[in-house]
Symmetry: C2
Subunit: 223 residues, 2 copies
Amino acid sequence: MSRASDRAYAGIRSMILSGELPAGASLGEEALAERCGVSRTPVRDALRRLEAELLVKRNEAQRSFVADWTLGDVADAFELRAMLEGHAARRAAERMDDATLQRLRACNQTIFEAIRPQQPDITGFIEGNRGFHSIILEASGSRRLTSLLATLIEQPVIWRTAHHYGREALRRSHSEHDELLSAFTRRDGAWAEAVMTGHIRRAFHAYADAHQGLATFDMARSA
Amino acid sequence: MSRASDRAYAGIRSMILSGELPAGASLGEEALAERCGVSRTPVRDALRRLEAELLVKRNEAQRSFVADWTLGDVADAFELRAMLEGHAARRAAERMDDATLQRLRACNQTIFEAIRPQQPDITGFIEGNRGFHSIILEASGSRRLTSLLATLIEQPVIWRTAHHYGREALRRSHSEHDELLSAFTRRDGAWAEAVMTGHIRRAFHAYADAHQGLATFDMARSA
DNA sequence: CGGTGCTATATTGTATACAAATGGCTGGGG
DNA sequence: CCCCAGCCATTTGTATACAATATAGCACCG
């Protein structure tokens, strides 16, 4: 989208995610406009988008606040993402063509390169990971599914999670992608779905472990 | 939301759904503003919302058009709805309390009253149906799930479908709700999910039959 | 005659001014 | 001392004017 509108969106979003604007903080349009160096119009636009992503909530009087995400909310999002992205993997497997398969292999190879060194390239890993998942989404051939998942994939959550990954967690992620590739190669939708579901749910537990120290957190019960 | 913004939203939406604005038609903000009797600002707001619902699409130059919904797109939406609402039913069953159960029973009784007469009260049926499903959604205890489904439940599609229902289709819908109630009473999540999934998929086929005359349309393949 | 680049025009993005509404604060009454 | 009511301040919603940008048509050059 346009410059000012994007600046407002990116600005507010990063303020929220960095904690500069803590959970529950009031989000006055005027104040945000000044902080972002734009007028209220693009700020309103940005707030609407952030509201759709549930990063911002509005009270009954249309006033905006930073949404407070409990671990349960994150679990909720991951659970739905696991289900939807599992479904996407199944559909992708059933529709897979060789060209797409090649792209996926290349993408996972990039990830491998990124995590091979002693000091893994986390940014590269995230980039490759995003590419891998978005190719699958595209291959699933459902625009609806893509649009639903867009609001569910909280890039910052992924980012924070990946930075807590150890080397063997990164490798494990890579090898799960490999298993997905096997399922895709055989056009085995059920297999692909199972692997993908597990892949996402593992990511959730990595997040939960790192952030709340609840090693035994029960996703199913809390979600 | 506010008056003018809602008027624009409702106006544009109904123009699209009534066919007054055919698929592919250009949606200039100025023109829409005039037709709705408001200024461009609320029209922009409305277009963003409609875009999120995939009723409106924008090209690379930010121009808006009426999205063309093929039967495949509708099938796509129904398939996802079946999955998500099935999931909601499972969760609701696992969390069901007696008060909610009572509300659901009352709601389904209302539906029964609406469809009993020779000339069924379709509006009453739709109203009751919406209430029934929204209670389940609420009982599922996942705000995310609710927000995802909101974009998926195209009220107008439901409306058009219900008007094509014969009396026995209405009764069937009612009795499927009854079966859901049984599953909820036993707190049997898997049962509830199965019934709900079937319930939604049946609705899709009723839609497909009525609108395209493709009695044997294969949801799984086209979706 | 076809292609490329420029210009005119239509359309969207942004800013600002103004209107409406909500919430809090203050002052008076019970 | 507490509570209620009315007013004021703050905040959001809407309209409109202006700026930026993309498209289409036309003219000119190859």
